[in-house]
Symmetry: D2
Subunit: 352 residues, 4 copies
């Protein structure tokens, strides 16, 4: 048997880190040889995520303690907070320029320095790498990703909206000036930091919108929709928090262009995704549920006719930790390291 | 002390029945003297809802067993399934024509026989009463309700959309041809019948839309919006099910007319509802959460600017069992029986 | 109408503080004239608990800013963290010695200075007050409470175990050396501090025990059981956390003494509590559910026979925020201020 | 590559059926060639469990429609309701005597015809098979299972109690006359039938015991504990329902025999299970959480000292659908078909 590739995870004590470990532990062609978590350095992975106590995993270390030149890593996943990531990756690639990196933060998702500065309030600290980075939505950028060194793994809300809408926009099948994306996410999308508004008693048995009118995921949507349309596209987007752990569902209201009906939009999506392993288009009129993709790398898409003639309702769902983050990251890794695209991420969803 | 008015509840074994009992048990001016539940007739209320075991309540009886002429009731709440309600009420009012009725079903909500027949697939069985019934949304029809004999308590989804939109439509402040209402409801809105799709393991830890493009609540929306606008208004409306018990939240996407901004819409609503006891408009830019109205008769409304110029996002929330059903019904009773409007339904919300 | 009594709440930004506000807002004989929350001083109550935004309430202030001599308060509820409470109360009572205090912390629950020092690791800072304080479980100490100045409101786990067991122990109806109390609590019992282990994604969809073998509530159990038995009683007690907000349920395994059967134990409890407004004993063999006491001040108790001859299973439940904390505190206030015991806390439970 | 073994699932439309499909879809050495569901015959698996829509699976058929002689199956899993299973299996084995069967119902778990008749109220309909069946708890009966034709997969509550207690009882390390097992299960353990008491709104946000004093799982406990002890053992056992989907946790109160301390019991279990792939004993004093075994075939066991000298608290947890049902069933299949025991069931737990 060929030797396994060596991979590391920076920021292993968060939820996307744990999801990467879950997936990679049974990936047949890689082994985890590095796990970092600065504030938990020295602990075993089983101390911060008891589900991994029975498994043989490297102890958590701090990023500063890694000797990148001798670490013999083939690829690292970067699951660090937005903002700090760019300097870490810049530093790592200076010391280990041949390393492949899949970055799960938002730091390299925006291609335009101006857009980055506008949305994040400061200049990007690694402008050259920002230029180099490839946007890691495999179904759209598969070819570029295979050759990339630095991949910006897309956001969870963004992926859930891009997958159904990009083909419709590219084919000029829908009006681009009246798209409404009403998005709902499970709590794991908010991460693992201890904040009052994320306590169980604050968020269970209730529902609310947040960031209304100004959520940062909008910048990614703008970039990708505009690129697909060949002109500036700005959509209405409202995120909400669901009292559950995993899953994003986007209800998308669109109007067909030039007489395109809801059936036409459905046929277009069904054909476009017919051969994609991780996108499933439901029969016309049926709409998906978050629970039916839970724990898997699948995206389910449904299309139904609105009762207003000419309008359609497109609903898409994915697991924010898997296809919306770590599963997508492994999919990117598989491309970059030359493996079969589905390797290690083809588990069926877990319901109930 | 004046004698208490006597009230009955038909269909007391469902959730809206239980919510009526909860509210009426502490209402200072009424006493419950009749509870019916055909399939549970003979049982104590504490057998079907153990929380009421310590309270002194009449035993459940069947509707057929009631002698309406001698029952000495002042008012009944009708919490029976849609469809069967109309013949029951027709029969009751023939026997006891002076009785006041607050009906929580959909049977008398549509004023037009044609609309009823279209949405429900059959002729209405009590056309005269359909004509007589008053639509029981107090904030809109307070004056008519006071004089009514038969009140059609509005639907929960409908109330949540009408309260924020009716004033905006009446004032011609928004375009009426591009309103999108994305609505999310807790599970109690689906009632207490034993269906596989309502089992805990089917609906917890997940989220989905249903009835996409053809939900019956649309007929009520059409009727009330069109009446407010003085012309036909048809909106996009999509209901979703939340993995929680109580609460509806509607995210409503609108465009201001003739330069009206989101701030203008907010000011209009804030002024319109300034004196209403059960509608609270949040400061501009703040949006409400279902949990903060739980168990109360309050509706919370927030307005924020969309980033697309000229568009606004209006979010409203209420407890589907209280303001969306039984609390609204008691509010109607209070008007009809000449009590203070807030009597017995002024409990603050329960959070957490 | 007689003037209302003036009450204050120290520590109003936590869950027991919010529950006190919920109950007191509709209490007919008191008004809230003081709300403190040191870290949130200056905010409106509606800023920290949006459900109260529509209500007229004093702004949050810091404890240091209160002029106790001129505050004209009749009673304060103290909902501060354990440990800091004793010095605050000592200081307040020096400045306003005629004030009545209901303390919801654990600081004055243990009567013995030695027991306090053993369980909390330091000398009590207000030994005189510790001596003066009355343990505020109304069903056991009603007479003493009426005359008290300082009342130590019992813990939620403790109340749930004491109410079913104290009568059985006092009557020498059960063996005291093999009592097992397996207790399960909703998350609100853990308070509102931002800790990783209390995040939604950490505690939803899962269940676990904590503090196994050494939970501080045991000290209260020891004190009260031993007092009831007239000899030292030490029970097995294991607390668990439920993925829900409100409610404690204790499953208690006991053996009858001198031939006492489960039926005998049931009869004893049923008779003992026949006239108590807030304790309801279910028919023999039936056992209670947390949801059926939610939001109310009720305790439900059930007794069933174990299949092992001579053994019984006693199950009790209450809402940890109401009868387990703030409802019990208002019950104490009612006694101390000479009101009817059930005033303001007689709302029926809210289910679903 | 060797040809895959052909397996079938009788009763594929329930939760244990779905869990079997989830696990077997990625099992490298078997393929699913038969799925039955009498009331859903004719439907695709994706119609009853939409998560499987993207996968290539046989259409649901009725049991009567199967031609067992020509079906070319190597093994079937039987996930039918208790009671009907025994006649079905008897019939199948008459037609296809070389078939291996793993039965997930309770029908063949009790070895004694008398015990069966007592607990189930009727004579067993397949007494010969009852005699032949092997109890399928691999960690206890591995050797017998390898040679078996008919395996009675253990109950979920039972497995969770047997795994920690059997070694302690066999080694005579604990007193057998005062064992208390307080067990809590997620809702999926109750199956998928549409019953009012299993509706989301009935069971969310609440907790309760059921079957107090007379739950059928007790018969399995009695059989296995008595066998291990070499004398009759009857334990106190109380099951409860948790407002969550997956997971059982048992809190077990025991007393060490002949001076055995909690540490001794821990050491005994840790050594006993040191090499078992699916049982993990935590460090002494640490106790497990259901969420950390979710979706996996793992059992986590913790032991802590009670504060009462000589007593210990043992806590065990497993996923009721995996190690408590379908994962255990695949583990049995692996043994019977000669595969590596962990094949297809070695996925790490999924948390959050």
């Amino acid at each position: 048997m060929a030797e396994k590739k060596k991979v590391g995870i920076l920021g292993a004590s968060g939820y996307t880190g744990a999801e990467l470990v879950r997936l990679l532990l049974r990936h047949p062609k890689v082994e985890i040889t590095l796990l970092t978590a600065d504030r938990r350095a020295g602990l075993a992975m089983g101390d911060v995520f008891p589900q991994f106590a029975p498994y043989d995993l490297p102890r958590l270390t701090s990023i500063d303690g890694v000797d990148w030149a001798t670490a013999e890593l083939d690829l690292i996943f970067c699951a660090l907070p937005h903002g700090t990531t760019q300097t870490v990756i810049k530093d790592v690639l200076e010391k280990a320029p041949h390393l492949k990196i899949v970055d799960l933060s938002a730091d390299f998702r925006l291609a335009s320095p101006e857009a980055y500065a506008k949305w994040y309030g400061h200049e990007h600290h690694a402008l050259e790498l920002q230029k180099e980075a490839v946007y890691g939505l495999v179904e759209v950028y598969r070819r570029d990703i295979k050759k990339a060194r630095l991949i910006a793994n897309p956001g969870c809300y963004t992926s859930c909206a891009l997958l159904p809408l990009i083909p419709l926009i590219k084919e000029k099948a829908i009006e681009t000036d009246e798209i409404v994306v009403d998005a709902k996410s499970g709590m794991t999308g908010a991460g693992r930091s201890a904040k009052e508004e994320m306590l169980f008693s604050e968020v269970s048995e209730g529902f609310h919108a947040y960031g209304v009118g100004h959520h940062r995921h909008m910048s990614e949507l703008d970039q990708e929709f505009s690129k697909a349309a060949g002109k500036e596209v700005v959509v209405s987007f409202t995120p909400h928090l669901l009292p559950m752990n995993r899953g994003i569902l986007s209800t998308i209201y669109v109007r067909g262009r030039r007489g395109k009906t809801a059936e036409d939009l459905h046929a277009l999506l069904a054909e476009h995704y017919a051969k994609e392993p991780f996108v499933h288009v439901l029969p016309f009129g049926k709409t998906p549920q978050t629970r039916h993709v839970r724990g898997s790398n699948m995206t389910f898409i449904g299309v139904a006719a609105d009762r207003i003639p000419g309008r359609a309702i497109v609903i898409s769902t994915l697991d924010n930790l898997t296809k919306g983050a770590s599963g997508q990251a492994v999919q990117n890794m598989n491309l970059v390291l030359g493996f079969a695209e589905t390797l290690g991420i083809d588990q069926p969803p877990m319901f109930p």
